[in-house]
């Protein structure tokens, strides 16, 4: 008699627990929907940033709990009985079974770069609403899906790269396009992120000194790790972080000394050449000396700064002074020209969907994953976290007064070059800005000027410094926080720059090696020097072009970067869709097909507008034609004719690069459509190139193999 009673009670208990869980999730969903509605419909008094945090976190929780679970169970049918590459090919080097939390940290550190910080900051010119919505929705339905599915595909293929998988599953041409896209995006990415640093450092002795000092600090760490304590990364990094924080503070003494300040006050062009020389050195020097120790430093500072920013926003809860929508949704924005569609999506890029992540998801991570089910937490979860970084950057940018935001981010050709002219222009747009506001702010953050610093980094640094100083130190520490934020942004942009240049060098050596064998040998010094010069010359050209551009460079180069990044995302989603069709998941193919169709539409529209739009501020050809007409009409002074001709050439080159990117995506889509038609009409045999099934030997609780000291 007692057994049924117990069973009845436990049944009731289970039902109650289920109901409580369902109730909790409904409450989370309602809180997210309510916060989103407040963001979308609130007018009048400035909105508190807590709404953004609540909306983002609740939407992420719901997306992770429901959508990623659906992807995992129904669409991909992940199988934990199957041995992952980390078990099948464990070697203690590349294939290392790793605890899922540690791997999450690895993966997040690899995917989080300057994109989710700079993109939303630039997109804030439309107001906070479009960017915030896209950051949340785009990540949940696009970016996270891409990262998760590509990670899953690579796990099932022994950790193969995106290019290899595209070649096997789509077509040889698809694989070749993926490789070309990677090289193209790399060159444009390196040029544009270098431009962000130049615009942050020019005429700033404090920031330039701080960043310059990270080079000897990195070399010191490199020597320590190579000769004194090989491989003791943690102690060396903590030592390095201490030194970097010291030079951030010491920068103020350099800026205050007339003679030293002169040494570190550099123009944009000088900084561009310094970065080009640095990129060449980092690519050609042994990796242990400069590149690796800088990467260690950057990883620690990046993690610390992102967590501090999150904590700062939660503590200070600043009000959003930017309106939900600005007048620049009409396409005449001063930061970059173009309407919300497609330019908001192209500009935000990495914070919502990033093609580059597909390279990480098919690189190191799949070789270290313990169980297939961890791909959901690592692939989908890490991208949600990156999207949250984007939301925080949006909050930091929009917590500034709009007048200050536009004054920092607009080029002199549009707003003028003096505080009075800038104040007049920006006030005439309806965003009040007194002439003395910006010089006073510049003085407060320890800079000579903050005017015309397009690129997003300085305005983000001002926003972060205001949040940090409201948490610790008040106005006294504003200048230190500002330079800490600049150092944080510049340090990890430099890490992308040197690591990217080195990988670009290997790609060029591999391509060149097909033509002439010795060139492909990665240890052959003439080959190293020549390939380093080629890759540095390629991104250096884009950088120089951006620095001398009267519209600030970001106006041309960031959209180009966004287009190439989204192109790579479309390549990844084409591959994912093809794999799903081959797996027989036709019913669920919309999960990758819908974001792919959206990205192709956005990319093609943006490409078309950047090439053919009649407005010289949007269309590359229209701008070069208007400059040519000005030369023809004799309105350009003789001394500037050579520079103007170079500008014309640069814009025509940008148009050609954009056209090539658009053509690549068209070829890939046609190729994929033919493949899909063949599969669906059963006109071709379907071969899925997965590694054969092997049952895992690891017990259920196995949590990784690193034998760290406690």
């Amino acid at each position: 008699m007692s057994v049924p009673a117990i069973s009845k009670a436990s049944h009731r208990e289970r039902a109650l627990r289920r109901a409580a869980k369902a109730f909790a999730w409904v409450a989370v969903a309602l809180a997210g929907a309510g916060a989103l509605a407040a963001i979308a419909w609130h007018r009048g008094e400035p909105l508190n940033s807590s709404w953004f945090v609540v909306a983002a976190i609740c939407c992420y929780l719901v997306a992770y709990r429901l959508y990623s679970a659906f992807l995992s169970a129904k669409v991909l049918a992940v199988d934990d009985t199957r041995a992952t590459p980390a078990e099948r090919r464990e070697d203690g080097r590349d294939f290392v079974p790793t605890n899922k939390w540690v791997l999450f940290g690895h993966h997040f550190a690899a995917i989080a770069g300057p994109g989710p910080l700079v993109g939303p900051t630039l997109a804030a010119q439309f107001g906070y609403l479009p960017g915030t919505l896209w950051l949340i929705v785009g990540a949940a339905l696009g970016g996270c899906v891409q990262d998760f599915v590509i990670l899953f595909c690579s796990i099932r293929r022994d950790g193969k790269s995106l290019g290899e998988m595209a070649r096997e599953e789509v077509s040889r041409r698809g694989g070749f396009i993926a490789q070309l896209a990677v090289l193209a995006i790399l060159v444009i990415l390196l040029g544009v992120v270098a431009l962000v640093i130049v615009n942050a450092l020019k005429s700033s002795p404090w920031a330039t000194f701080t960043l310059a000092m990270t080079i000897p600090i990195a070399i010191l760490l490199g020597l320590y790790l190579r000769f004194l304590r090989p491989g003791r990364v943690l102690e060396a990094s903590l030592l390095g972080v201490g030194l970097v924080l010291f030079v951030v503070v010491a920068g103020q003494w350099v800026a205050a000394s007339a003679s030293w300040a002169r040494v570190f006050t550099l123009s944009g062009v000088t900084l561009a050449f310094a970065l080009i020389a640095y990129g060449f050195a980092a690519s050609a020097l042994p990796v242990w000396l400069l590149l690796a120790p800088r990467d260690y430093l950057s990883a620690f500072i990046k993690a610390g700064a992102i967590f501090s920013l999150a904590a700062g926003i939660l503590i200070v809860r600043p009000h959003m002074l930017m309106p939900p929508l600005t007048r620049f949704i009409d396409g005449n924005g001063p930061v970059f020209a173009g309407k919300i569609f497609p330019f908001c999506f192209i500009t935000i890029a990495c914070g919502a969907v990033s093609g580059f992540h597909a390279l990480i998801s098919s690189g190191t991570t799949p070789k270290m994953i313990l169980r297939e089910s961890h791909a959901r937490f690592i692939g989908y979860g890490a991208m949600l976290m990156e999207s949250f970084v984007g939301v925080m950057a949006m909050v930091a940018a929009c917590a500034m007064t709009p007048g200050v935001y536009f004054a920092i981010n607009s080029p002199p050709a549009i707003v003028g070059a003096t505080p009075e002219a800038v104040s007049r222009t920006i006030s005439s747009w309806g965003y009040a800005l007194a002439p003395q506001t910006l010089p006073a702010l510049a003085q407060a953050v320890g800079e000579q000027t903050l005017l015309n610093r397009a690129g997003g980094a300085p305005s983000l640094a001002v926003g972060m410094a205001q949040i940090f100083s409201n948490t610790i130190g008040g106005d006294r520490l504003l200048s230190i926080w500002y330079h800490f934020a600049i150092m944080f942004e510049a340090l990890f942009i430099l890490t992308v720059l040197d690591a990217g240049t080195r990988v670009g060098r290997f790609m060029i050596q591999e391509l060149g090696g097909r033509v002439w064998k010795p060139f492909g040998r990665t240890g052959w010094m003439p080959g190293i020097l020549l390939s380093s010069a080629i890759i540095v010359g390629a991104w250096g050209y884009f950088l120089y072009q951006g620095v001398v551009d009267p519209l600030g460079g970001i106006n041309s180069l960031w959209p180009l970067f966004g287009i190439s990044n989204q192109l790579l995302a479309a390549v990844a989603l084409v591959l994912a869709t093809t794999v799903l069709l081959k797996m027989g998941r036709t019913r669920w193919v919309w999960v990758t097909l819908a974001p792919m169709a959206w990205l192709v539409t956005v990319t093609m529209t943006a490409s078309y507008q950047k090439i053919f739009d009649p407005s010289p501020r949007i269309g590359f050809l229209a701008f070069s034609n208007s400059l040519a007409a000005q030369i023809g009409a004799g309105t350009i002074p003789a001394a500037r004719i050579a520079d103007t001709r170079r500008l014309i050439l640069n814009n025509r080159l940008d148009a050609a690069v954009t056209a090539i990117l658009a053509a690549m995506i068209l070829v890939l889509v046609v190729e994929a459509l033919l493949q899909w038609y063949g599969i669906l009409a059963r006109r071709r045999s379907v071969t899925l190139h997965e590694a054969p099934y092997l049952a895992t030997q690891w017990p259920e609780g196995f949590a990784g193999t690193a034998q760290g000291d406690d």
Binding site: A110, V233, F356, T364, N565, Q707
Partner: protein, 69 residues
């Protein structure tokens, strides 16, 4: 109280181990651990020294994309 301090100590140990694995400090121990567990890896060459492993690891890690935009 001893239970709380034991839990805190255990939490700290887990955090420290995770941090060492995250930053690469524990890579050499993982390499030796893999050799210990997998007899096929022990056949042939002797294990690399910590210094050799560190250099080999860096060259391999930084010859492919490891950082994103």
């Amino acid at each position: 109280m001893p239970r709380v301090s034991r839990s805190l100590a255990s939490l700290w140990r887990r955090f420290w181990r995770g941090l060492r694995q995250w930053c690469g400090d524990a890579d050499y121990e993982s390499y030796l651990g893999a050799r210990w567990r997998r007899p096929d890896l022990r056949r042939g060459a002797a294990p690399l020294s910590r210094e050799e492993f560190y250099l080999e690891q860096l060259n391999r890690r930084y010859s492919r994309l490891s950082r994103c935009c």
